[in-house]
Symmetry: C2
Subunit: 286 residues, 2 copies
Amino acid sequence: MTSTADPVEAATQAGDCDIALGEPSLLARVVPAMPRLRWAQSTWAGVEPLLAPTLGRHYVLTTACGVFGGLMSEYVFGYLIAHERRILERFASQRDGRWDTTAPGTLFDKRVGLLGVGSIGAALARTAKHFGMHVSGYTRGSEGCADVDKYFHGRAALRDFARDLDYLVCAMPNTGETRRLVDRALLDALPRHAVLVNPSRGSIVDEAAVVEALRAGRLAAAVLDVFDQEPLPPDHAFWQTPNVVITGHTAALSFPRDITAVFLDNYGRLLRGEPLRCRVDFERGY
Amino acid sequence: MTSTADPVEAATQAGDCDIALGEPSLLARVVPAMPRLRWAQSTWAGVEPLLAPTLGRHYVLTTACGVFGGLMSEYVFGYLIAHERRILERFASQRDGRWDTTAPGTLFDKRVGLLGVGSIGAALARTAKHFGMHVSGYTRGSEGCADVDKYFHGRAALRDFARDLDYLVCAMPNTGETRRLVDRALLDALPRHAVLVNPSRGSIVDEAAVVEALRAGRLAAAVLDVFDQEPLPPDHAFWQTPNVVITGHTAALSFPRDITAVFLDNYGRLLRGEPLRCRVDFERGY
């Protein structure tokens, strides 16, 4: 075992190691110097930095999947309830000394569409059902989640998927296929009262189209955790667009307790010669 | 059937009616003029106005119990998540143009204490378990809810009940026994990082003690929907107390769809000669 704060130095020291645990952006710097690497465990859900074709693929890469479902549920449903109950607006009333009796809405009987139903999407679907919502799922073809009421597959089905949603939630990895999936056409297909929530990857959303839809009143609100450029540049239109909530890439942080559990589980599997969980398909991109 | 906007006029016209459906505050005005009244269905969960000893008790009174659990869950857990994720503070950062990456907390593994485990408390317990929380319940003696991990009974147990809570949530009716249950001693027994949530009845809480605890930093925050006097008077200390959220008695409104279902269910029971659901014990007060 080797420990140093500098990743390049770590790579030099780690040349003989066959197992690595770390953030994808740092792992990407040491992987080329680790010819004996058998397995790398990412501490994040997304592993884009390790997918560059110039990097070696001589090892098994596993993501920290399965640990973010709970955090993502708290994020998404916290902001969905905040929207229904006007938590931000009601607090503004309070600041003005006003007894605000505006009736709140409810999640019950509302419709949420999940763009992607992997481990995070499945956790979101479960919480949505807990609150009595109708759940639609858009996937490549899988239909494995019992909490999804209706599935939609392929871009041709996107308009039907979007047509009657109250909430559109992105729960997809960043791949060529998901890039700009939330574009002007998809936003136009949503009802005007719909809310977009993106806690997954900035690349999924056409940011200019979101700004335009919000300004034109064709989208009620957008809750955005991730962006094309982070930190969001000070002159970005989102800062001045009405009904945007910006949460600074904090939706689901990696807590050591969770990541340790994932690592130990996979380490046990490696020792026993069993297949590792959450293995990345380098070609597919997740 | 009789229909008029004025309750006293309604009472005159309704003298012969044996069934009534309405808000307790209005029913209290017509009940004395309805000697043939067999059954009154309240459209609210609380029925205090009908408990006055001067009013007749010659009829069966049923509350709108069982319909507010979902709404109360959305209210309570919306504000619990808002606290963990700093939704209000993060939005203030955004208003200032700041990319706020402050790490959020999580409900997972946190401890919630329910003052009262009736139909609303049970719904709250179920949502708490969904988010992976530990649930304590304070009741008169009943232990019927499987989602409560640990029960506490009687005032002597209140300090133990409160000792390690992250959240204290009131889910009790207004009776002599619940009056000022949340007093200085109970607030002192809570950890300093605890949050008080009261969506049930203002009388349960000693408001001056809450103000004092918040100002002294012995309580982290209070989310209050109900108050001794409503609307909250403009000169009330809560308006100027830090870390208070005031929600104007909107936690769980009576939606016609829900109340109609309760009324029809009980009406069917009445016709079939079965016991009505959610019958009030006039002596007990709920």
